[in-house]
Amino acid sequence: MQRNKPILAAFVALSMCLLTGISAYGKKKSTEPSAQFRQPLSGEEKVQHALSRLTFGPRPGDVQYVKKLGLKKWIDLQLHPERIPENPLLETKLRPLDSLHMSTAQLIRNYPSPQIVRAMVAGELPFPDDPDKRMMIHRLVERFQGKTGQDGEAAAMPDLAALLDASQLRAFRTGTPQQKLALFTALPHDRQDQVLTAMGQGMRMQLYAAAPQALRRRIQSAAGPQAMVAQDLLEAKLDRAVYSNRQLQEVLADFWYNHFNVFLEKGPDHYLVTAYERDAIRPHVLGKFEDLLRATAQSPAMLFYLDNWESVGAQSPAGKRRQRGLNENYGRELLELHTLGVDGGYTQKDVTEVARCFTGWTIRQPQRAAEFEFNPRMHDEGEKTVLGVRIPAGGGIGDGFKVLHLVAHHPSTARFISRQLAMRFVADDPPASLLDRMSATFLKKDGDLRAVLKTMFDSPEFWSCGAYRSKMKSPLEMVASSVRALNADVDFTFGLNNQLVQLGQPLYRKAEPTGYSNSGQEWLNSAGLLARMNFSMALANNKVPGVKVENVNPTDGVALGSPDFQRK
């Protein structure tokens, strides 16, 4: 039973660092912040600190592993995730989540919304190739047709009592999950699907928990196939946070998705986020900022989320014909949130000019295939001036690329991105000396994000008392680090995801383009603290569905909910 001690006991280790963060509301400042950022850490503290910032929290054995490998070498490896063999357990968990690997068009066809099912019935779209999925959709069609037959009445849900005999029904209501599963699998395949549809959510969850993987997908899709898309995203995000050996890559994927936030619930974005995260965000988190920015700018997910796909030059052929016009939403957030920052030195005029440059950047078939498209008929071909730079008339799609290149290399962007990264990795209010060096690297190395991170991880400020344990964990960090600290086994994640909603950070569901704050203070409040304590107790007592802790011990729960564990 070596497992908990190094993780949880670490937090009572003596430190030369005083706890900071007292100065929040202008009360007594016991120590100058700049002095705090000059006070170095002990060797032991350095290892703890690195693990708390570059990962979603240490697992048992991580401290020893890093010490053995050497801190420098470990950080270097984390900066080159392709050199780290991925955890086979994670790969096993991700394999069944087939939606993660599909193109948007495939997603829409394989996990269709009711409108798409209608289009399939009307012969406008082919049914999926996979026989199981085709069967599922045929069943949906039956329901759909039953629905319309009744004059718009609510769908006639099959009644469980009509599908099972009395003894089966009793067993289904009162049996153990294993009994339910045995009963269920004994039914003919056809009947199984009907039973799944007729079950209540609670009963379905119980069956799900006991079911083998292949059956689980069927149970999940019984509630509506389109819900699977979000479920796979959530499942993968937490699995990766908990299990990946490439921890820094996962921390960065979380950081950059949040920086370029897209709200999963905004209409078609439900189907667009999968490709967005996979193709626009994840490949670039250690690459060049301009590549990342271009990938987001051309992603259907962002084009839809910030309305650019509908923005039309007033004098363009489409603008004249459809009486449509400019939409500033993307132009503004590009400057304010994605690149320059609100104090980055742009004006309302710049916002409008940027919006004009991006007219015509739209989506082909947003409900079916959803691919980026430049439509010259929507584009404002006039001359523009952005941040004092003239963009000549007739530039077409090039206008947008010029803007992206301009802002990706702007000193304000270098500063803003450095500050956001330092807020996540170093301290809520990172010192200017650090931001100066990070910005300099950003500008010198053409926005090379790996180089910027390296500058940060090489800085004395990162390894200082000002940074050490100064940040409050975000809910995601709190949940993932708890699971990791207890070495709990995650069979499925919706229990954990429900907890994240309670803690105030539903994944992929931040409606505002700001994303969640990178400041830890954001999370300090009574509702959040209580939710953390309740989560801790539930986790340690094996009360979170889908998560299993081997040796149940309530004192672990108290440790996880303690003030110490909320810090990183």
Binding site: A9, G325, P563
Partner: protein, 419 residues
């Protein structure tokens, strides 16, 4: 298992089970003492996303309004011969309420709902984030302000202090309430506790004893509030007859604020927010009573109306004020929506409110009258409205501390009391 015991011995957890609740916790058992005198209460509602004030309180007598918004304007009240529910509800011959706000008309007619038009923050920003931040800090243009206007507005307390003087509904404490004075965020009253009683004691001790200043303070505030609210949790809450809170988060928030007020646990200010107002595309459906804005306003109007009915006589002690970070462009954009603008409208509702009147000078919608030739101009600083309420309602006359660098001038919205 040995190691775990070692861990226990070595940690602060060894304190667990020591027995008596800490002294501060005992002292915090405030509600079981004699009930506090009834206090005046301020409820602030934040509409996040920049609500479209021009379509919420419609200047239907302005011809220019209809020219600027050919496809999304709310029709004049006079146009409502066949479809009354799709036209503005006339208030004073010039302004009209959006039809989805019909539940608020009786409150207006009773003289308890005031509207301030062309109000908001003077800062020119059109960033949601910055504008919300400025409105909540109460210091437009100043980013360094660490605390929020509501926290500063809490009057100096005499005697026992209720741990729930300032309550925000939600999973995070809003900027407006952050600061040195205790304020709690409550997501759900019924679940505001540590469910495991033994663990609750252990946590209370840990947070009382920690050397971590921030988490310690937050933890102590939390447990004080938890013990106070325990008595409320045991009863099922039934709103007063006729009060129908709409389903959904905002209705839930207002219902719980009403519950807290009626429970007399010492609430002096409450905060709730409601999102979904950022309508860049298809703001209005085929008719004014349909579409995204109408749906938001239906929820909003029903929730406010239910709150009014639920509190009944108790509204004498309550003033509710609404705000949104900025308004939206006077002209509709290319997508039957509106972009980020400037001035907006605010609602003030309460028993002591001089309502039935639209306050504020109307700046007009002609090109030269618009702010930066595109948005409704500002004639009332939001701090004038809030300042009057802080002074007159909460009785905190030290407005220079609440709104530093600004001297709010009351508009006479509060009846009988001169701030």
């Amino acid at each position: 298992m040995t190691d775990r015991r070692v861990f226990l011995r070595n940690s602060a957890l060894a304190m667990v089970g020591a027995g008596a609740a800490p002294l501060w916790l005992q002292r915090a058992l405030y509600a079981t003492d004699a009930p506090s005198p009834r206090k005046k209460i301020l409820v602030a509602i934040f509409q996040r996303g920049a609500a479209d004030g021009l379509n919420i309180v419609v200047p239907h007598a302005e011809k220019r309004y209809y020219e600027l918004r050919p496809t999304i304007a709310v029709p004049r009240p006079s146009a409502a011969t066949d479809r009354r529910e799709d036209a503005a509800i006339d208030l004073d011959g010039f302004f009209g309420l959006h039809p989805s706000l019909a539940p608020l008309k009786p409150v207006w007619d009773g003289g308890h709902l005031a509207i301030v038009h062309a109000a908001g923050s003077p800062d020119p920003t059109r960033s949601h984030f910055d504008a919300q931040d400025f409105m909540e800090s109460g210091t437009p243009g100043l980013k360094a302000t660490a605390d929020g206007w509501m926290n500063r507005a809490l009057p100096r307390a005499a005697g026992r202090i209720s741990p729930v003087r300032a309550v925000a509904m939600g999973a995070v404490l809003p900027r407006a309430m952050r600061g040195p004075q205790p304020a709690v965020a409550v997501q759900n009253l019924g679940d505001f506790q540590v469910r495991n009683a033994d663990a609750a004691n252990a946590f209370a001790t840990l947070y009382a004893d920690t050397k971590d200043p921030l988490l310690g303070a937050a933890g102590r505030e939390t447990f004080a509030a938890v013990s106070l609210l325990q008595s409320i949790q045991k009863q099922r809450y039934e709103p007063a007859a006729g009060a129908n809170y709409p389903k959904g988060r905002f209705g839930d928030c207002l219902r719980q604020i009403a519950q807290l007020i009626k429970a007399d646990v010492g609430v002096e200010m409450a905060f709730a927010d409601v999102g979904g107002w950022d309508h860049h595309v298809n703001e209005v459906g085929a008719r004014a009573s349909q579409g995204q804005l109408a749906a938001r306003l239906t929820d909003f109007g029903q929730a406010l109306s239910a709150f009014w009915l639920d509190l009944g006589d108790r509204m004498r002690d309550v003033a509710l004020v609404t705000m949104s970070e900025f308004g939206r462009t006077a002209r509709e954009n290319g997508d039957r929506g509106t972009d980020h603008g400037h001035a907006n409208c605010m609602f003030v509702m309460g028993g002591g409110i001089r309502g039935g009147k639209v306050y504020g000078k109307w700046p007009g919608l002609e090109r030269e009258q618009l702010y930066e030739a595109r948005d409704l101009n500002l004639t009332t600083d939001f701090r004038d409205v809030l300042g009057e309420l802080v002074g007159g309602q909460l009785g905190n006359r030290d407005l220079s501390k609440v709104f530093p660098g600004y001297a709010p001038s009351p508009r006479g919205i509060l009846g009988g009391i001169q701030a």
